[in-house]
Symmetry: C2
Subunit: 395 residues, 2 copies
């Protein structure tokens, strides 16, 4: 008699985005003359760069020709793309990698979640709260013991290791989803030193690194000395190049991580060669074009557009004296709403027709906070902030 | 201190294809004037159908436009592709499915391997020998108890359930990789009845179903009464439409499978929404075109080309009185070589410059057998068979 993985039944159904979507839908239906400005979406909205789309189209058309056809490729990615990512790490973060340390995938979400395969279930997993739900859920699916560490106003939603923190694997995300907060070098140094001292592994999610423009802030954890002995980094073209529906990411597993005499890099290679069949050749050609000078320039232009939205929001909140994180090196603004975050959601929706995301949906430490995103247009962002200012000035 | 998944260290390194590749490379280097005909490859060689490649190119180019851009899609696939697959099941196999039962993915390999997530580790897994290594390795990675059941000449390499067979989950692959053997309706009925009686789950790999031309043979396990209560089916466009490097597959999880009151369909949806981010929109547009009348006609033409190769091989072996399976409703021929399969490999390579794959590489029951594939050209296949006949006639 087949026996199910009972851990699945301990998962909380995450109704966060389905609930916000339903409330917006209901409001819109009841108020057709009052269009809602959506600042809750975490998805990009600007089309792909032409250089990238052309590369995909060319590779796609080529697949019908003898010269352009490609069958099975290496599960860890095409050499040309590994090489482009290697060069990007060097120029973007000053980090030297070997090609073998770079694994191309269909996105950071799959890799972050599938990487759990490599560990025994009796590890203690350390996860900051609030959090991107995948870290939590993928470990709950394995019945692992989880320790949440608090993000809050005092630590700027960037929790640091502390004396007495017990754990074996820690997830860090910087720039952070949902808070937009970014670890500085000193913060990451504390985590890397702690991990190396205690034999912990850091799973570092750098999906939003392309939004970092402050040159003192790290793009990659491998900018920190000692990180190649204790950290794995996940990254994605979703936010760097608008690949949310195109699907390509990469994971860096340093060859220097050796645990009990075993190479974590070789274990991930074995996992991927057994349980993955490589990323579409056509999409890998598009990803290669992201890293070309033209592609990179176009992608940076799109990111600058989103960052201008973030600046508009940040300026408004600063002017109003509202506490927030993010918005400078991130597409997310995490503001203190000073009330129940679902009530704040309802108030913004009903009174000024602006939709965001209640912080409590990302964990208990998110209660009293609210997320706005920078993926709308300049016009809508300005209009939303103008309404926001008027509403709260009147309270 | 991070603890690794020790089960990984019980995996046998599969040197099969790296060993055959090395031997061929060494022979070719030492004998530049004697080109080797490769009949060992399991990868397609004919370019994508033009209809399909055009659809990919069009969707790719469109991603640079406001109208054609697509961000995050549903993890379980775009509705248009689920609908196309639903219609294909009806016309190809006479099977009615609901859209919700169809999950689009990046290929059958990922899904077959990731589906293990849904089960407790104290299931006994039943796997035929010889076997596609992914079934075995993905369960060994979880430390599960595995019972191998023998494929052999007596059962035509199509093992059936037997009194006393104990197990909770069974993997079946038909048309089979590596043997090319195909279960008839009666064989599958026996498995479905057994599974329903014992509370077993059948994981059915139908990746080669498009090679079935004998109308009495099932394309899908869901052609068998009762299968929707006990079977999950994995399929892929890799062999149907030459998508080995393009990457798209699908998995059917019937809503009727309820285990201990839980819906397996809902569990897989939860797994995919948490650990997968959907298949590239661009590739899904190509997959949709596979199921168009033009796309399907072109794909069928390519399959007919490979099947003609299989026929050439099968005719030669029949004429020579050599026992084999496959080659009629499959791109694989599994022949009895009557000697150590690695010795047979060396003999063919050295004496007639034909490369195949030693059966023992697929499991202990493969010893004494040999796999040839139909993915070369007509000319090379004919030439290889002519050399083969001469060589063995002279022994």
């Amino acid at each position: 008699m087949v026996k199910l993985n009972e851990n699945y039944f301990n998962l909380k159904e995450s109704y966060l985005f389905s609930t916000t979507a339903r409330k917006i839908r209901e409001y819109a239906a009841a108020n057709p003359l009052k269009p809602v400005i959506r600042m809750g979406i975490g998805d990009v909205t600007i089309p792909l760069s032409k250089t990238v789309a052309d590369a995909i189209a060319r590779a796609g058309a080529g697949m019908a020709t003898k010269e352009g056809f490609h069958g099975y490729g290496d599960e860890q990615g095409e050499g040309f793309l590994q090489e482009a990512i290697r060069a990007y790490y060097l120029s973007n973060a000053g980090v030297e990698l070997n090609k073998n340390e770079i694994f191309v995938s269909d996105g950071a979400k799959s890799d972050v979640a599938n990487f759990t395969d490599l560990f025994s279930n009796d590890n203690v997993i350390v996860i900051p709260d609030p959090v991107y739900p995948v870290y939590l859920d993928s470990n709950m699916m394995l019945g692992r013991k989880i320790t949440l560490i608090d993000g809050n106003e005092e630590n700027g939603f960037l929790p640091l290791p502390y004396e007495g923190l017990e754990g074996d694997i820690v997830y860090l995300c910087s720039p952070n989803n949902p808070t937009g907060a970014v670890y500085d070098r000193e913060g990451l140094e504390k985590w890397v030193d702690f991990a190396n001292e205690k034999g912990m592994l850091i799973l570092f999610d750098a999906a939003y690194e392309a939004f970092v423009s402050d040159s003192s802030l790290p793009h990659s954890i491998f900018e920190i000395e000692g990180a190649k002995k204790c950290a794995v980094e996940f990254c994605s073209l979703s936010k760097t190049a608008g690949f949310t529906g195109t699907r390509c990411g990469y994971t860096v597993v340093p060859e220097d991580i050796v645990i009990g005499g075993r190479s974590l890099n070789k274990m991930w290679l074995r996992r991927q060669t057994t349980k993955y069949n490589g990323t579409s050749y056509v999409i890998q050609k598009g990803a290669e074009a992201v890293f070309s000078p033209e592609g990179m320039a176009e992608c940076r232009k799109n990111i600058a557009y989103y960052k201008e939205n973030a600046r508009i929001m940040a300026d408004t909140l600063t002017k109003m004296g509202i506490w927030f994180t993010g918005g400078v090196n991130s597409p997310y603004i995490w503001l203190k709403c000073g009330m129940d975050s679902w009530e704040f959601f309802d108030m913004l929706l009903n009174e000024i027709q602006v939709a965001g995301t209640p912080g409590s949906g990302f964990g208990k430490c998110g209660e009293g906070y609210f997320r706005l995103t920078a993926f709308n247009t300049h016009e809508n962002t300005r209009e939303a902030m103008s309404r926001f200012e008027k509403l709260l000035a009147g309270k």
